[in-house]
Amino acid sequence: MKRRFRYLIGGVPLVFVIGLLVALWAGLSHQPSIIPSPLIGRSAPPLTLPRLAHPGRQVTRAVFEHHVTLLNVWASWCVSCEYEHPTLLWLKRHGVRIIGLDYKDHRAPALAYLKKHGNPYVEVAYDRKGLATINWGVYGTPETFVLGPRGHIRYKYVGPIPLSVARRTILPLVQRLRLDETRS
């Protein structure tokens, strides 16, 4: 009896640690990413940047018109973007139109990055100085916006998009927005 009590007491730390591990695991899989953006519901802020592959030409707000578009902010120096990359390619394969915004990066490594990992973007705006911070409220990479066909921001995701979110939230949202477009 006494011995059993001792085992019980000895088990307390283990129970505590297991509880902690479960919580940490939950914390790790939990996405702390749904930060309401004041931009949601508004039309896209101004965007005038050179193209990554063709420095002479520009990407403007016009790219968002008539299409449902994802704007994905990324950089070649961003480890989480690499983690997110397969999700973007998956979205591309499912017919989602993605515009990239290469954030505070250099041209050569950015192009090399796309060559190496595959290019999910239809166009990439090259934001050397991080101007998007001011207009778009970007404060890290990756960040992703979903824009409706009239260039309104519908959704924002902060951090690498897990495949589950792409499947459960983003793709259905894109499809719904497209439907709305054809109906109107």
Binding site: R6, Y7, P13, V17, A26, G27, C78, P109
Partner: protein, 666 residues
Amino acid sequence: MIAEIGLYALILAFLMAAGQTFFGLAGAGTRRLRWMAVTRPAAFGQLFFMALSYGCLTDLFVTSNYSVRYVAKYSNALMPFFYRVAGVWGAHEGSMMLWMLVLALWTSLVAVFSRKLPVVFANRVLGVLGAIACGFFLFTLITSNPFVRLLPPALHGGTLNPILEDPLLVIHPPMLYMGYVGLSVAFAFAVAALIGGRMDAAWARWTRPWTLAAWIFLTIGIVLGSFWSYYELGWGGWWFWDPVENASFMPWLIATALIHSLAVSEKRGAFKSWTALLAIAGFSLSLLGTFLVRSGVLISIHAFAMDPKRGMFILVLLGVMSALALAVYIWRAPLLWEDGGGFRFLSRETMILLNNILLVAGAGAVFIGTIYPLFIEVFGLGRLSVGPPYFDHVFIPIMFPLFFLIGIGPYLSWKSGSLRSLFRRLWIPALLWLLASLLLLLLALDSHWPLMTWLGVFFGSWVLLTAFIEPVRRLWLRFRGEPVRLPSGVLGMSLAHFGVGVIILGITVSTTLGVWRDMPLKPGQSYRMAGFRYRFDALRPARGRNWTGVRATFSIFHQGRLFAVVHPEKRHFFPDGGTTTNAAIVGGGLHDLFVSLGNPLGKGKWSLRFRYEPMVIFVWLGGLLMALGGLLALADRRYRIALEVRPFLPIEGADERVDAPEEESL
């Protein structure tokens, strides 16, 4: 080629660690001397190959070999040589390499200095250390291989975060790692002793110097980090209670408790199961710290350079190690309940028990503050951050009773102390303390100090005055011709306790009496604060090897006379454009003056921050005194005697008892 050699050596080091684990644990379990004979050479082999692999990575950094991804990302030919060497541990992969190099180093040290320990026990210790190393090797090889090639090679390197380009920061991580990883030795000793089912005075005696050594490194590491953040981050302040700092502070608190409870386990044979638990908790917390820092669970979304896969791996590693250790603990701890003798309330055991309770409670408070935001978020209760006010209100009150006890604990005898002998030893310092306090009250009553200042000064001076009673008493007895020795252990303890007093004074005075103001000024204007006048003389462009920026000139006047001329700077680093604020700090004695450049506000105006920090240097001085005290204690002869015991070699049956040599009075 070098990269491939490095990777190959890393894999070989892993195999060595695996061999060390197997032959250490299985050899000890089956009492096969031949198997056990392999463990030590495997440990040395692990160090050799780990050092080779680390050397390869360093070579890649120094030669700026951009065909390796990690190098291309974090090294730049523009960086000075020194920082290219140190840049190896500037980011995740390399710092894991440093971590494992340090672990291999500790393991080899244990292998060298455990020759006099019972063979079975030494093998178990090395086996446990090997298992820890295996976990980290797997982690590095699978999720963070630093030798991955980059094809095609990058044309130019990336950069280290410019903030990290600082000589102090170069030695800060190695120190901290020596501390973190050093705790694995205490962990391994505890687990090995638990497996063997025998925790005796000898075990505690063997563990003490290792724990002390790890604690010294941890102390120095934390002091350096705090000093660095004070002069480099640019906005003053030397402790922010941020998760990264807490991650090093929690193991430190536990290690401090462990050092004290080990003393009881050694001298009195009591608290053994508690001591084992602390040893397990100390290293588990340093793993937890690694997890918190590397996985990004706690840090805000700004820390995007985190990879969730790595976080998961470290979590599994942490889980497996601490759960296994605690399972062994459940299995064996009930055997340890038969304790060495009881003790009265008024005894040193009680004091150390209280010390442990308070330190663990302090660590618990820090733990809750660090982890609470995560819980809130996981359970969908919103987002929040726990700021310094929480820690100030919860942690600091826990420390006050501890400060009072520091002055008393060392002067009670083991088992049963008496108030009379305590009074006999303490009345002179107590009287001095009362007189000094009264004098201070009279002198400073009209100075409108906040309550905290008074409390801090009273407790701090109490600790300072009582710290050296024992050495002074012994010297006095010796002076009178009595044969009393003054072991360096006693001196070390006194010095470390004195350091605590110095820290208390530094912290309270600098935080409660410090002043800071943000002021927009343009060149030519002046500002007056806390008795000093700051004149903004000029602002000029400046440049260094890999940065451009601005450099301001301030003349500081005190009582009408020129006190100092300082040059705060703002630097923009070119390859990737990070910015650092290099504050100008003068003083270094009783008070620091601090000027830092904020941002241009237009029309020639700049936002500026002025700080007046009285006695802030005491914070780090106290920390260094503690570390020095630890070093002195480490030099104590007793540990060397303990190492020279030639124990009976147990080959069959249960572990034999090893008789400790004659114990000294402390």
